[in-house]
Amino acid sequence: MMRLPWPVMVRAFAVQGSWNYETLMGTGFAFVILPALRRLHTDPAALHEAIRRHEGTFNSHPYLAPLALGAVIRMEEEGEDPAVIERFKAALRGSLGTLGDQLIWAGWRPLCVLAALVLLLMGAPWWVAIVSFLLLYNVLHLVLMVWGLRLGLAGGRSVAERLRGSALRRLQPRLMAAGSFVAGVALALVVLRGVPTLDMRPGHLWIPMAVLAAAAGARWGERARRFGVAAVAVTAVAGLLAGVVT
């Protein structure tokens, strides 16, 4: 079992700390890989040269950045041609972004949030919902980061082959199905029981209205959100105006 470079692992949580439109995650990548480069290059001039090569454009999903970092550390250790490392980073960044966007931003995160909301809709105390959300969500967050760093260190330039054979690719469709399922539970609960966090008892018109609203949200998605924001704002203005007038 290989030794994990802990300084890199810890810094990896801050890989987006200097995110910018010029190099995206690039300067963050250099910041994270720096301890590994320091170990590799004791000569200041060589370190200088190495770190400069890594400040250019890079991007990834933040939780999958350790995979690229691991692979690049491995390639640096093996003395790979800098031009190849550069092409490697360019080729990998889109893939890690795509995988992470689908897996985490459009999968795991809304799934965990909805699970917490389901707990709240069932009347669970706030701390149960919040603590279980943070624990559940961050288990995969942590596992993914450590796993990625290991996979990268082991795979080096051919990390993509290992990635293709990994459980990660099979996880995504399951997350999507689980997400749909939890969304269904949440909608059934909100329609039948109202919203306990608002301390409201559903009246007799509640069920048809809630079904209508939920169906509109499901059908129109982002457009429904824009409509919802406008509706809340209009209600706010109307509720105030009526008070000013009377």
Binding site: Y21, S95, Q102, S158, A160
Partner: protein, 161 residues
């Protein structure tokens, strides 16, 4: 027509393309046109690692693409065509096969000699000329990172320096 999107994006296959545009257009095929990549399998492997199951990625040279385009456009597959630089797309346009199509500028980032035009578009002078040339070749050039974003036309792209 079954090429649903022509896009220039340095990052090629990534979240905005697969989740953002893919979610809207539901493609079954992604065609990357690039002479270097068409000849480099280890890089193809990396670029294709993020493609979701149900979508096939392929890498073609410009010459292949010019030959293949009429067939792809007539086929029933739903495809996205990507290049990673404006130069490659303008070579496709120069062959006349993009006449009447819209080309989406999705992401060209900071680099030597480039200046910022939009948050996601940085251009150098040669690229500005290539965009204008594409427009003269009958292509409608529109910068738009995501389907819901505001489109920015070629005049605005080449004007800002």
């Amino acid at each position: 027509m079954s090429i649903l999107l022509y896009r220039v994006d340095e990052r090629l296959i990534h979240g905005q393309v697969v989740v953002g545009w893919g979610g809207r257009l539901n493609p079954s095929r992604i065609i990357v046109v690039d002479d270097d990549l068409a000849a480099s399998t280890w890089e193809q492997e990396l670029y294709a690692a993020g493609v979701p199951s149900g979508i096939e990625a392929e890498f073609r040279s410009v010459a292949d693409a010019v030959d293949g385009l009429p067939e792809w456009e007539g086929s029933r597959d739903r495809a996205l065509l990507l290049t990673r630089d404006i130069g490659t797309m303008s070579r496709l346009a120069a062959s006349g096969c993009l006449r009447g199509r819209e080309v989406n500028i999705g992401g060209i980032h900071h680099g030597p000699g480039r200046s910022q035009v939009l948050h996601y578009v940085f251009l150098n002078d040669a690229e500005r000329r290539q965009l204008e040339e594409m427009a003269r070749n009958g292509v409608e050039v529109v910068a738009r990172d995501l389907p819901n974003a505001r489109g920015v036309g070629v005049e605005e792209l080449v004007r800002t320096r």
